[in-house]
């Protein structure tokens, strides 16, 4: 019986749907036009948490499409070129998925380094796409600030991985 339970596939709504919804809500909240002591709110890329965590938890057919949809949401909501964030998130998802066997069992600080690396890859892809689409080089300092703000979201990714990594033993 316990074996049956352990091989039961994850409910997509729980590990894909709800986190995606939370990422959308987070994006909405940080788009509030407010300045606190003259400083604007940071603008991290919330779906990056999912691109990393979903790839570490297990391979999935639905996850890449949800990532593209989340990327499309970011493009539409932030007013950027369509496809920019979808392709950027998929780039890091693919790399993390391909190297997930290396990451499994790593300590938290090590995983955090991996997350920062994946975020850097996403930002680099976005940088290259934006350069080609707009025929201009994006400001490196602004790219760095967004990278930093996104890297600080690792605790959310860690929580998601801890919650669902052991839920399906076929992919450990």
């Amino acid at each position: 019986m316990s074996l049956l339970q352990s091989t039961r596939p994850l409910d997509p709504l729980r590990w894909l749907g709800l986190p995606a919804l939370a990422a959308i809500v987070g994006t909405f909240l940080l788009a509030i036009p407010i300045k606190i002591f003259g400083l604007q709110l940071p603008e991290p890329v919330f779906p990056m948490v999912l691109a990393f965590a979903w790839a570490v938890i297990r391979p999935s057919v639905i996850a890449p499409f949800v990532l593209v949809l989340l990327g499309l949401f970011l493009d539409l909501f932030w007013g950027g070129p369509l496809g920019l964030w979808g392709v950027s998130l998929l780039a890091s998802y693919t790399v993390v998925l391909a190297s997930r066997s290396i990451m499994t069992g790593q300590s938290r600080p090590m995983r955090q380094v991996w997350f920062a690396g994946a975020t850097a890859l996403t930002m680099l892809t976005g940088f290259l796409i934006a350069s080609v689409v707009s025929l201009a080089v994006p400001n490196l300092l602004s790219v760095f600030w967004q990278f930093l703000a996104t890297s600080l979201l690792y605790p959310f990714a860690h929580r998601l991985i801890e919650r669902f990594e052991d839920a399906d033993v076929r992919f450990r």
């Binding site: 074996l3 049956l4 091989t7 909405f28 909240l29 788009a31 509030i32 036009p33 407010i34 300045k35 606190i36 002591f37 003259g38 604007q40 603008e43 297990r58 391979p59 999935s60 057919v61 639905i62 996850a63 890449p64 499409f65 990532l67 593209v68 990327g71 499309l72 949401f73 493009d75 539409l76 909501f77 932030w78 007013g79 950027g80 070129p81 369509l82 496809g83 920019l84 979808g86 392709v87 998929l90 998802y93 693919t94 998925l97 976005g126 940088f127 796409i129 934006a130 689409v133 707009s134 201009a136 080089v137 994006p138 400001n139 300092l141 602004s142 790219v143 600030w145 967004q146 076929r170």
Partner: protein, 374 residues
């Protein structure tokens, strides 16, 4: 009990999900690239913005507006707290500024007086006021790859793509997408933004290019030393997207050596914006109105003169040659047409008692009741 393929010796195969997931990634990537190739964000055409973007803007507007409302309140609280804590240093700074401003005020009064006299001497016509709409900013994206705002005024308020947008201090960008009650503003700092500008001191032209950072670059400058630190930068009006002379900011030199602009709009929060209902220079010249309304109405004196001329033209011609030359016939036809036009003008002047230089307002340019004019 059959658990999986793995437990059957003659079907020793793994669950193929890894491969299927790989295929899914490739398909998703193809979709993403197709979206990227199909996007035409950089153009000003309405069709380029797309129905999807308009729908998303319209749907996200009420959500963002609801979220932004308490944000505005807390923002005010933070501002009050900062003002309280910084009152001493702010007071000192404001005293210095008031001292400087008195000097500028005197200069401004003298220049305004001189300006009026010169205009009178030259008989210059000043630009007519541009109607504008005030809007709240309800969502804000500030990333390196997209820098836009959502404002809660749209097609219903007369906003169209291309309209310039100003904060209380200066130009912030232009409208690139319009829904019924919402519009998307492309900021000057966005990587896709290109704005024709001039340096106030030298009249040198440049293109202000956003790069996702806070200070956009001055590109394609011409001439020797066309700019120095502290020069005022204004819109040049070249290309007809913006009217000439809107304040943008002050020239500064970046760490990379490139000339950049410190935007005037950065000095205050961009919570309210004014959308100028300006489309191009033909609107300033009021050609559209002139064409739509026919000839402008006449004053009473002019009407009397026209009536006399109409009478003269309508009177039978004196006896002449039996077969008039062709040119005379054409002239007669022209005279008849002119008489008709003048008669129409006379009728219009009787029905509309307006000054000669003011054409009647049309719905297209009439500002909504809560609008302001520059």
């Amino acid at each position: 009990m059959r658990l999986s393929f793995r437990d059957r010796s003659n079907f020793d195969m793994k669950v193929p999900l890894t491969w299927t997931a790989g295929v899914a990634v490739i398909i998703a990537a193809v979709i993403g690239v197709a979206l990227l190739l199909g996007d035409r964000r950089e153009t000003l055409q309405i069709q380029a913005y797309g129905v999807t973007k308009n729908v998303v803007d319209t749907l996200s507007a009420p959500v963002s507006n609801t979220l932004a409302t308490p944000g505005r309140w807390t923002g005010n609280v933070f501002d009050l707290a900062r003002d309280y804590l910084m009152a001493g240093s702010q007071n000192h700074q404001l005293r210095d500024e008031v001292g400087d401003l008195h000097v500028w005020q005197d200069k401004a009064i003298a220049m305004e007086n001189e300006n009026q006299r010169l205009r009178a001497v030259l008989g210059l016509k000043t630009d007519p006021p541009i109607p504008m709409v005030t809007a709240h900013v309800i969502a804000d994206s500030r990333g390196p790859f997209a820098d836009t705002r959502l404002a809660d005024a749209g097609r219903g308020q007369g906003v169209t793509p291309g309209n310039p947008v100003m904060s209380e201090r200066g130009l912030v960008g232009r409208v690139i997408g319009v829904g019924h009650d919402v519009s998307r503003i492309l900021m000057l700092t966005d990587i896709a933004s290109r704005t024709p500008v001039l340096i106030d001191r030298t009249n040198a032209r440049a293109i202000l290019s956003g790069d996702g950072g806070p200070n956009p670059k001055l590109a394609y400058m011409r001439g020797q030393d066309p700019v120095k630190v502290g020069d005022r930068v204004l819109t040049s009006g070249d290309g007809g997207v913006f009217p000439r002379g809107l304040p943008i900011g002050v020239a500064v030199q970046g760490l990379d050596g490139a000339w950049r602009v410190r935007l005037d709009s950065d000095s205050s929060p961009i919570d309210f914006v004014r959308i100028l209902l300006f489309t191009d220079f033909s609107q300033i010249a009021e050609q559209k109105d002139a064409l739509a309304s026919g000839l402008p109405p006449l004053s009473a004196a002019d009407a009397a003169e026209v009536a006399a001329r109409v009478k003269t033209l309508s009177a039978p011609a004196p006896a002449g040659p039996a077969t008039p030359p062709k040119t005379t016939a054409a002239a007669a036809a022209n005279a008849s047409a002119t008489a008709k036009t003048l008669a129409n003008a006379l009728a219009a002047s009787k029905t509309q008692a307006q000054p000669k230089h003011l054409p009647p307002p049309t719905p297209a340019t009439t500002p909504p009741p809560d609008d302001e004019t520059q």
